[in-house]
Symmetry: C2
Subunit: 424 residues, 2 copies
């Protein structure tokens, strides 16, 4: 077991963040191999501290039970030996990813000989506000360090002791590697004041990534003066076009709903072209119902299938995250596009069609991070996209859109090399 | 003179922005040639409406004189035939730039055959809040439309009638081209309420670019819930390293200060390595003073040159924008880096040196949008960088950093093309 280096208790939230900023300058200059070894040391430290981490987690869980924490949230919070092994394994995978820093994005030489190079650089300090999921603590710290950033964490209060044990293990690993441990900070002990300080740390924290419920994200987006990358909710649509092959329609809708209903890329609403309703709806709803899905349908759907729960207006904007799906018949592709404009959260939408014109129109006109033709919405994922890791899925348009990998935790700067040139 | 199409007076600020959002869908799908012709039509309309625009501008100027508008601001506000020609000329130059939309940023094929393409797309609706400079009205509208975006403008109250005339001319040109004129909106008539509506139009306006004083930018950054691109002030530094050649030092410092002192890329502070102070300071200060520059120096500078105004603590963080410069002797490169960390606005810094190690360390360690060795800071400019146009110079790290061209007014989306694949 590594020696646990506690965070200095006398520091204010502001002082902690300033210490992270100072440490970020060292981290930002580390080369690829140093950063890789740093992450491997963090993975080892988490494994070595497993007992202490499980003990801290038990204390959080005991408190959660007393405070009536919901069963599902208790499960997300729980760490055992196997889950700790998964945490350190994820850190080792991030260690092996290519360094996103120092890539050349643009290169030009002016007529006067001045050479311009635009290169990727770390942001500096990455902040994150999230809920009681200890895996986020380790994931985000590893992703931030791998991309040369310091990190300031603010996790859910229900995971406070677990997070403190994880942070202590990771900081000890940094110190043992000769790196300033202040590069990993938490403002958990400061409660709401810590979150408030983090959201207002303009000039210290360079970017803030909220992860969690729509409500948490909305709070951060509206209150933060630090630039935010919004990782949003997914009211995800699949459109079954007039020419949709039955087999693709059925398999893709079932996969997108059933494979992992609790995640943001699972489908919530299926829109069926009126010209295909009779052909597709009975078979698709039956396949869903066989897998335990409740179908909330409009009257046109109910007329074609059994056991349809009448859909209400609220259904169209609901991210169920459960074995529920809403289904509606639309007059045509325009009707589908209009429904999507109104209710989509701009995450992922897919059309199932054999008509190339419809497919390309859908790809061009739908204003979402990921727009698909003839594929399951479940592919919207950093892992599936081949990024090797995922910071989150951005539903905003600034800086990052869609699955975010390590590259999205970098900024850029212009390096200009001259030989005495002045501007005429 | 084209017929002037007034903005519908009965619409609220919110309704105007929603109309811009609807229009953005049409603009976003226009091809390169349509957008180019649209801008040429706008340039023609501005020329054709010159008399009406000058008349509106005279009314603004009369009101400005009555209200005691400062001479410098009156000059920025003033439009005459020549300046209107410059406005329309700028639009024609933007028309001829390459289309930033539809470029492929990334392309991958998954093992299962699903094809991923990341392409540039317009943001949708670009908002801007700026001061009483009518050229910004036309510039930003042209840049936004060229990149496939609708635009919502909120200019300074002192330019209200001028902006109304310019917007009317541009909207008439859109309508004549068969494009929804709601793609160019102003919320000027709503005063502060218009600015407030714009800053809170999350989900309607995709990005907000404030242009103007540090105070205006600070207000927008802290109050807006729409994502902001900060175009910031420049407390720009030049470091004269121990090995700096006298000629380069003198020519670059003079160019960076004197050529156009009122802009953000002009130098404000010169830091001189102690080992080069005696060799460089007398000649560099004399050259500056010959051109009318007041040098605010620390005691070490004053000991080596005549007519030095004692520098105060405030000088180090002042963006003069005038023929003033501050100058300080630092012990070494570390001392220069520390000063820059403390006082820089992260816009542009340059080192003058013959020592490659110093140059590369400076390029790596200075955390600014543009970092230079042996070149004038005046090169930080979209035009000088070869972008053909400039939206502003971003001093933030998210999305855009440094001079912003048309590309920085685009976002991206992932297009996914499959043949029925589902996630295993």
């Amino acid at each position: 077991m590594t020696s646990v280096l506690p965070t200095a208790p006398a520091m204010t939230a502001q002082e902690r963040m300033l210490a992270a900023q100072t440490a970020s300058r060292q981290i930002g200059l580390l080369d690829d191999d140093r950063k890789r070894r740093l992450l491997l040391a963090i993975a080892d430290a988490i494994d070595a501290d497993a007992d202490a981490i499980v003990a801290a987690n038990s204390a959080d869980l005991d408190r959660g039970r007393v405070n009536g924490l919901a069963e599902g949230l208790q499960d997300r919070l729980r760490l055992d030996a196997a889950r700790i092994g998964a945490l350190s394994g994820a850190v080792r995978e991030i260690a092996d990813l290519p360094d996103p820093v120092g890539r050349t994005l643009d290169q030009r030489t002016l007529a006067n000989g001045v050479a311009l190079t635009k290169v990727t650089v770390p942001f500096g300090v990455v902040g994150t506000i999230y809920e009681a999921r200890p895996n986020v603590t380790v994931d985000i710290a590893a992703l931030a360090l791998r991309s040369g950033n310091a990190v300031v964490l603010r996790g859910g209060t229900a995971a406070e002791q677990t997070n403190a044990a994880l942070v202590a293990a990771m900081r000890a690993a940094l110190a043992a590697q000769g790196v300033d441990p202040e590069a990993i900070q938490t403002v958990d002990e400061f409660g709401r004041a810590g979150a408030h300080a983090l959201m207002n740390a303009r000039g210290i924290v360079d970017v803030l990534v909220p992860r969690g419920s729509a409500e948490l994200i909305e709070t951060v987006v509206t209150q933060s003066t630090v630039p935010v990358i919004e990782t949003g909710a997914g009211v995800v649509h699949i459109v079954l076009d007039e020419s949709a092959p039955l087999e693709w329609a059925r398999e893709i809708v079932v996969n997108a709903k059933v494979q992992r209903p609790s995640v943001c890329n699972s489908v919530e609403t299926v829109l069926v072209h009126r010209g295909a309703a009779e052909r597709l709806i009975p078979a698709v709803t039956a396949a869903l119902q066989e897998r335990g899905v409740t179908v909330h349908g409009d009257p046109a759907v109910a007329a074609l299938a059994d056991s349809i729960v009448p859909a209400t207006e609220d259904d169209w904007s609901t991210e169920y995250l459960t074995l529920d799906v809403s289904m509606r018949v639309v007059d045509d592709l325009d009707g589908a596009l209009e429904h999507i404009r109104r209710y989509s959260t701009h995450h992922t939408e897919s059309i199932i069609t054999e008509d190339d014109v419809s497919a390309e129109r859908f790809l061009a006109e739908v204003d979402s991070a990921v727009v698909m033709a003839n594929a399951s919405t479940r592919f919207t994922d950093g892992g599936a996209f081949g990024f090797g890791a995922e910071v989150g899925i951005s539903t905003q348009k600034l800086h990052a859109r869609g699955p975010m990998g390590l590259s999205e935790l970098t900024s850029s700067k212009w390096l200009v090399r001259g030989a005495g040139q002045v501007r005429p």
